[in-house]
Each structure stands twice: as C-alpha cells, then as structure tokens.
Symmetry: C2
Subunit: 316 residues, 2 copies
C-alpha cells in the first residue's frame, strides 16, 4: 500500500492502522507539512518504508507506485483559508498532484486509488444534511475547486482505464496528530492571550467534525468491502456544533474563560461555509458508526495538543 501524505495527521494514523492490519506500507511525502515524528511508531516496522518525494516529481512517483496494490492519496494543500493569497497552490498541490498520482497508478497498473476529498466541494449547498448526489454544486473556495477537479479526474480515470477509484468527502477531522484547524488556532491564540480571543465570523458557523479513528474505520471498511469501479462517500458525524460551542469546550478543557471578540459576518473568511453537515447514510449502510461525539473529539484534541507543545510552537 502506498500512502501519499503519509507523514501528515490523517496519513500517519492510516499508516499505523494499515501496519497493524498486516499490510506492507510505503509512505510518499515531501514533509512540507508532514512530520517525521508522526512516523516514529511506524519507522521501526519491517513492513514500512519511507520515501521523501514530491508528487510533482513524475519519476519518483512512478518508482514509488511500482508493484503497489493500492494507493491512499492523502497528500494535499489543506490550507482552505489562505487559498486566495496563493491561487496557484491548490492547482499544483491538489489538482496537478492528483493527476500525477492517477497517471502513475495507471502506468504502474495499480488497481485501486482512494482519495481524500472534502465536504467543501458542496460550497454552500441548498440541502442539509447534504447527500453525495445533491445538486451540481458551485465552488466557493479555490480549495474546494481543486478538490472537485481531483474528484472529476478520479471518476474519469476509473471510467477510462478500469481502475477502482474511491472518493471520501471528509468533514474536518480531529484527534491525535491534529496540526491545523480551529482547535489549533484557538489554542495558539489563547497561549498568546488567555484573557481574550478573536473569533472569525459571528461564532454561529455550524460544522460537523469527525474523530480520526472513526474516519479511518470508514476508509478501511470501504477498502475491504466496496467493489464499485467508482464510488463517493461522505464521512462525518450526524451532529454538528457551532464555533462558539466548540470554543467553550476548548476553554473548559484548559480552564480559561476569555472574552470573545467576533470579527463578524456569517463566514469566517471568503469561501468559509457557514454550515457543513453531511448526510452519511451511504457510509452507514455499510455498517459503520462513529464511536466518538464531536465534543469528545474536540476535548481529546485539546488534551493531545496540550501534551505536544512542540506542535503549537512549531506550526502555524
């Protein structure tokens, strides 16, 4: 199994799960946001190999893909918010990189490619909870646009070349090795000033979150039982929470009661979705159920980050 982005948050957790399930695992990661520390557990394993490589390097990618049974393509630019400052980044690191992964998989005769997309592809949908076959969405972020492009390539490759291609549309994921997102941002702000915290938007944005192990339960289940040449699965919790609620859990976990300064508006930034709530019926029909509530996951993520101060100091 090849895992691109395997040194990242979700990728490294997937690597540990795949190794525990007796698979041979190769990680392909350029360490732009991935961290070797996340692979410490995997590193000593006889069935583990690490390749430091970039997805824009066709030759390196083709070599890594050789003789792999499946590719889990998790590498991506995941900085949704700053897309407008770097308009080429999502194109290169998401769209072109995913084309390169598919092309390497085709040339290397890899049978299966699993891709981590995002609920952001729905933009601001008209239907909640949003099912996979909701009306043709309009993109509100360069990040979402690039992920839609990747998904389209996945389906076209599956159709053209007979590879199995599976797309997962994630909500925001929480848990061990979490390195960016609202919990991270709030903790950094509260370290700098424990008495007052800036909240992007009006605090009423409502989003669903999912624990990384629940997420990987679903990914691994799909990889074992789904045979369709092309398939799409929403992955999220049935519930959701507001930014304000999540901030309260975070503050409670660290024992602070800061004032809240709202930047205002329904959206935290241009392209932010005021409401993300996915219909995960399709995934649940396979027998999957999340084991963690959103509150449990937020609190566990806070505790994890408080125990890994180096992450808070290093990143962002």
């Amino acid at each position: 199994m090849l895992v691109t982005g395997g040194a990242g948050f979700i990728g490294s957790n997937l690597v540990d799960r795949l190794l525990a399930n007796d698979h041979t695992v190769t990680v392909f990661d350029n360490l732009s946001t991935g961290r070797v520390q996340f692979l410490e557990q995997a590193a000593g394993h006889p069935r583990f190999m690490f390749i430091r490589g970039d997805l824009l390097d066709h030759a390196a990618l083709c070599a890594a893909v050789q003789a792999q049974d499946a590719v889990f393509h998790l590498a991506a630019n995941a900085d949704v918010r700053r897309g407008t400052e770097h308009p080429r980044r999502d194109l290169e690191q998401n769209t072109i990189a995913t084309h390169n992964v598919l092309e390497a998989a085709r040339l290397g005769r890899v049978g299966r490619v699993y891709f981590t997309s995002t609920g952001s592809v729905y933009g601001e949908p008209a239907v909640f909870p949003t099912p996979e076959d909701c009306p043709f969405p309009i993109q509100t972020s360069l990040y979402g646009a690039s992920k839609v492009a990747c998904e389209a390539l996945m389906s076209a490759y599956s159709q053209a070349y007979g590879m199995q291609c599976v797309v997962f549309r994630f909500v925001s994921i929480l848990g061990q090795r979490y390195t960016h997102g609202h919990v991270f941002d709030f903790l950094k702000k509260l370290r700098a000033n424990p008495r007052s915290v800036e909240v992007l938007g009006n605090g009423k944005q409502s989003k669903s979150y999912l624990d990384v192990q629940d997420c990987l339960d679903a990914v691994l289940l799909v990889s074992q039982v789904v045979q369709d040449p092309f398939a799409v699965f929403n992955l999220g919790n049935d519930g959701y929470c507001t930014v304000d609620e999540s901030l309260s859990w975070i503050c409670d976990e660290i024992g602070l009661s800061p004032g809240r300064q709202y930047t205002g508006g329904e959206r935290g930034w241009v392209g932010d979705s005021p409401l993300i709530h996915l219909d995960c019926t399709r995934m649940r029909r396979l027998g999957w159920t999340p084991q963690h509530t959103i509150e449990q996951s937020v609190r566990a993520t806070v505790r994890y980050l408080l125990g890994e101060q180096w992450l808070l100091e290093e990143a962002g």
Copy 2:
C-alpha cells in the same frame, strides 16, 4: 475584448460578431487547431489585433489581457474522444490554461470572464432534459473532468476576487468554419469510401446540436444583460437527433446511399454520452430562441464543408 481560441471555429465567428457590434477585439491563439483563414474577414479591421500565443505562457497572456474589458475564453482541447490516449492534454490545455486565464484576468483587473464549457460535464445524467442544477455529476471522460475543473475555478475566482464569471455548457456546435465532430468524420469517411461507412456505436446515440450563430446570439445576449457574479447557462436545441438520423441528412445532402457498418454498443467510445439533451429554460428565460433546427444546421454544415474541401483534406 480578448478572445482566446479566437482563430477556431466558434471563436472566429465570435470575433466577427464582436467587431460587427463595434467592439475592439484581440485574439489570443496558438494556432494549434485554429486557422488564420478563419480570421481573414477580421484581419483588415482597424479594431482587430491578433496575438499568436500559448495560454501556458504566463507573461504573454498577462500582456494580452492588459486593459481588456472582458475575456471570452474559448481556447481548449476539444478532442473529447482521444482523451484517454493523451491523459495530460486535457489537464494542460483545459484546466491549467483556464487557471492561467483567470489568474491573468485577476492580475489585469478584467471585470468579466466568459467560459465555454460543455454538456459533457453531466457525464451520463439521470435527468433528461438535464438542467444546470442536476445531481452532482460523475465524469465519464477526461475532457469532461477537465471542464468541470475549469468551471470550479471560474466559480471560486468569482467568489474570491469579485470578478464576474459566466459558464456556458454547450452541446455540439455546427455551422460555418466547423472543423471537427461527427459531420466532419462522416464526410471524410465518405470521401474515402462512398459505398460504405463505419458508425461508432449502434447509431442510436441521441444528441442535441446547436447552430454557431444561435450559440453566439446567446453568448452575446448574456454578456449584455447578465450581472450575476457567477452564472451557468446550458446552450442547446430543445430537440435532439440520433447518429443514424444525422447520417441520413448528411448522405442526402451529398447524394449518397452508403451501407452502414456499426461498431456496436451504446457508446461510440469510452466516455461517449449515449444521450445529450440539455434543459435550456434558464437561457430561454432571457428571451433567447434558436433560429435553426438541428436538421438545418447539419445540412448547412455539410454544404459549408463541401465548399471548403481544404478543411477536409487538411484536418483530422
């Protein structure tokens, strides 16, 4: 006004129309499939300029976009059928090229970008006639996938940077300066062998077609009256015809009665859509109505090509 792909079939007709409407027009075209002959009428015009340039050349594109009021982005790889033989072509000439156009327009502060997408983005839809907001489609061709990627970039750019971005989803277009598609292919085959003709698929594929002048009526109307920051319009005829019917009109027009050899199957090739029929209500609400039937357009296209034998000899 800048017209990318302005030396092509639809582009050169658009150029003539824009000049007739008193606009100043610059064509940006690499002449990979465009033809200088199509710009003979425009060439002598004092308000016309031609730039031979490639959309992957960022500097040239930025220079061309300077001080333009609007960009009509028509340049594309339009070879739907052979996408699987050249998997990088659609990525480069459609997705990356469109990103470059949008980026140049943003940097050059161009207020409006019009983009020619395709009904192929619907893949094999579940709803006929297919409206713009049909269920989230699954791509069946690399061509469709690349156009979806372009559309997603259009909406994200409009949202992020406040440019007006309008997407047209065309059916196949017919008329003067037509250079590729089923009428072209059949005429070439019949020139080689007037007694027998190969038909890709079972001949029952049903598709809608639209006359190039009807198409441009719609594009120009939208450019004059639509103010939405982002909009999508299907463009086609309300009717459709089968490949067999169209072949009969072609044969009738040239006075031949060849035998027909069907390659078989519902699809002419991998990624071919067995049925293309777009719901154009949204466009019709603006007061637009096609002036030509599909049969009239097919027959007029045959007569045009018979008068321009150089095209049949040179292309394909």
